[in-house]
C-alpha cells in the first residue's frame, strides 16, 4: 500500500504509536512507510528496549529473525519496559514454533508476547492488525475487535491448513521449504524432504467408500505427526500424498562448524528412525471402516531427498523425492527410498 494511503488510514484511526524492534528487511514491511509515524523502527534491540520504556506505544512488533537465542531476553525486557503495549512477534515460517513457545512464557504475570504473525507481512495489514488491539477497544468494543482477530486467524488457518487432516497444506509446505532452505544455506544447515503416499489407497477408496479413505488419511496424519519431532513440518500435499520437512531445529545453532559438517554428511540418516517408527505404527493401526483382516495392511511408499546433497531449491528437492517415491512404487511398494540409493529400502540402510 502506498505510504500516502497508509498515512490517511492512520489519520482516520485514533491509535497509538507502533514500535518495531529488529531488522525489518525480511518482514516485507514497506521500509518507507514504517520510517514515518505512527511507526518507529529500531534495528538495534537495545535502542528498541530503551524506546519501549520511554515512549507510549500501543503495539510493539519484534522481528524474530537474527535474534535467535537472544529472543527470550529481548522480548522479556521489552515486555518489562512497556507492560501495556500489545507485543506481536514477526516470525518466519520456520520460527513459528519458537513464537508459539514464547507466547506461552510469562514475565511478571504477563505473557511475554501477545501474538505472532508469519512473514511476509504487508504494512497496511500489519497496521490494521495491531491497531485493532487495545487502542481501538474503546471505540469499537472488545467483542468486535476480538471477532476481527479471530476471523484473521481463521483465514490464516484456512490458507495454510488441510481441512481434512489438520496438517499443513501444499502451499504452506512449499513456502516453508523455500524459507528453510534459504535459512539452512546461510547457517550451513540441512533439510530433508520426505514425500510419501498410501499404497493401494484407490483400492480402499473404491472398495470401502470415501469415508474409509478419509479415515485412512486422518489416521495417517495423526501417526506421522506423532512420530515426527515438534519442529518438523508435516503436510498433506495432494489426494493421498503427504510431505514432511525435516530440518535441524533451533538446537542446530549450538553445534560447532565441524559438528555441522559431520551431521550434514550423515544426513538424512537421522530421519530414518522416525520414518521406520511411523511405518511400524501404521502397520499396527486398525481402521474401523475396513475389514478386520486389513489390519497391518496399511503401508506407504516414499522418497527422501535432502538439501544440499540432492538439490538446492524446493523444486529440485520435490523432483528428487518424487523420483525416489516412483522408484519405490515400481519396485513393489511399502518402501521408502533415498535419492541415489534406489536399490534398497531405508530399513536396510538403517
Amino acid at each position: 500500500m502506498p505510504s500516502l494511503e497508509l498515512s490517511r488510514m492512520v489519520s482516520n484511526q485514533n491509535t497509538g504509536r507502533i514500535l518495531l524492534a529488529g531488522n525489518v528487511t525480511g518482514t516485507f514491511l514497506d521500509a518507507d512507510a514504517v520510517a514515518k509515524p505512527p511507526f518507529e523502527v529500531h534495528s538495534n534491540v537495545l535502542d528498541a528496549i530503551d524506546a519501549a520504556a520511554k515512549g507510549s506505544f500501543s503495539a510493539i512488533g519484534i522481528v524474530m529473525s537474527g535474534l535467535s537465542e537472544r529472543l527470550n531476553s529481548v522480548a522479556k525486557a521489552i515486555r518489562n519496559a512497556n507492560p501495556d503495549a500489545k507485543i506481536v512477534l514477526l516470525a518466519q515460517v520456520y520460527e513459528e514454533s519458537a513464537a508459539k513457545k514464547l507466547i506461552g512464557i510469562s514475565s511478571n504475570g504477563t505473557s511475554v508476547a501477545d501474538d505472532y504473525l508469519i512473514c511476509p507481512v504487508r504494512t497496511d495489514w500489519f497496521y490494521k492488525y495491531v491497531s485493532g488491539g487495545p487502542a481501538t477497544v474503546e471505540t469499537t468494543g472488545p467483542f468486535v475487535d476480538y471477532s476481527a482477530q479471530m476471523r484473521i486467524k481463521q483465514l490464516e488457518r484456512l490458507a495454510t491448513e488441510d481441512d481434512l487432516t489438520g496438517l499443513k497444506n501444499r502451499r504452506y509446505i512449499w513456502e516453508f521449504s523455500k524459507q528453510i532452505i534459504k535459512h539452512a544455506a546461510k547457517e550451513n544447515g540441512r533439510v530433508t524432504l520426505l514425500v510419501f503416499d498410501i499404497d493401494y489407497f484407490k483400492h480402499y477408496n473404491d472398495t470401502y467408500g470415501h469415508s474409509a479413505g478419509d479415515e485412512i488419511l486422518k489416521q495417517t496424519a495423526v501417526l506421522i505427526k506423532r512420530c515426527c519431532r515438534p519442529h518438523d513440518v508435516v503436510g498433506r500435499i495432494g489426494g493421498d500424498e503427504f510431505a514432511v520437512v525435516f530440518w535441524d531445529g533451533p538446537a542446530h545453532k549450538s553445534a560447532t562448524e565441524s559438528e555441522r559438517r559431520s551431521l550434514q554428511a550423515d544426513h538424512p540418516k537421522e530421519t530414518i528412525p522416525i520414518i521406520m517408527r511411523f511405518r511400524k505404527e501404521l502397520e499396527k493401526t486398525q481402521i474401523s471402516l475396513l475389514n478386520p483382516e486389513n489390519k497391518g495392511a496399511l503401508a506407504v511408499s516414499g522418497g527422501l531427498a535432502s538439501f544440499p546433497r540432492d538439490g538446492s531449491t524446493v523444486k529440485e528437492l520435490f523432483e528428487q523425492a518424487d523420483k525416489a517415491l516412483l522408484e519405490a512404487k515400481r519396485s513393489g511398494k511399502n518402501k521408502v527410498y533415498l535419492v541415489g540409493k534406489h536399490e534398497s529400502d531405508i530399513a536396510d540402510i538403517a
Partner: protein
C-alpha cells in the same frame, strides 16, 4: 521509578550463578549501595530507561556488556553512566584499546578491584555510608585477640 539524585545506584549484570556477580553483589551490599541485579544487558537497559539516578554504575563481564555492536557502551556514554567491566579471558587487546578510549569504561581484573577503583570514584555519600557501616560493625577488639593460640589449645586438650 522516581529516584533521588545524588546517591549511587549499581546495576550488576550477569547470571546469578556467576561468581563474579555474586562477589560484586556482596561488595555493594557491604557498602550499603543500592544495587539491582539484571540477568542480562537487555533487562539492564530496560531498568536503566526508567531510572532517574544521578550516579549509575553498571558492572559486568566485558563480554556481557559488549553486546549489540557495542551499543550499550555508547548508550552508557550518552547517559553519563560509568561501566565497570571484568576483563575476562575473552578480552582481546583490541577490545581493551577500543574501550579504553571511552572515558566511562573502567576495567578490573578481579572483583576486589571494584573496591579500589570504583568505590573511591563516587560521591562522599558512598564513602560516608561505608565508613558508617564499618564503624557500626567494627568490633572494639581485633577478632584474632580472642582466638586461642595453638599452645593454649594444646594445653587444654593435650598435644
Amino acid at each position: 521509578m522516581e529516584e533521588s539524585e545524588g546517591h549511587l545506584l549499581a546495576i550488576v549484570v550477569g547470571s546469578y550463578s556467576d561468581r563474579f556477580v555474586q562477589q560484586t553483589l556482596n561488595i555493594f551490599s557491604d557498602y550499603e549501595i543500592e544495587t539491582v541485579h539484571c540477568e542480562n544487558i537487555y533487562s539492564a537497559v530496560s531498568r536503566l530507561a526508567a531510572n532517574n539516578h544521578g550516579n549509575v554504575l553498571v558492572v559486568g563481564r566485558f563480554g556481557q556488556l559488549d553486546k549489540e555492536q557495542g551499543r550499550f557502551f555508547q548508550m552508557a556514554g550518552e547517559k553519563g553512566l560509568v561501566c565497570c567491566c571484568l576483563a575476562d579471558g575473552n578480552l582481546t587487546a583490541r577490545d581493551r584499546r577500543t574501550s579504553a578510549a571511552k572515558e566511562n569504561i573502567i576495567f578490573v581484573n578481579e572483583p576486589m578491584e571494584i573496591e579500589e577503583k570504583i568505590i573511591k570514584l563516587f560521591s562522599d555519600d558512598v564513602v560516608l555510608r561505608s565508613e558508617k557501616k564499618k564503624n557500626k560493625e567494627a568490633p572494639a577488639f581485633n577478632r584474632n585477640d580472642f582466638l586461642a593460640t595453638k599452645a593454649e589449645l594444646d594445653a587444654l586438650f593435650g598435644a
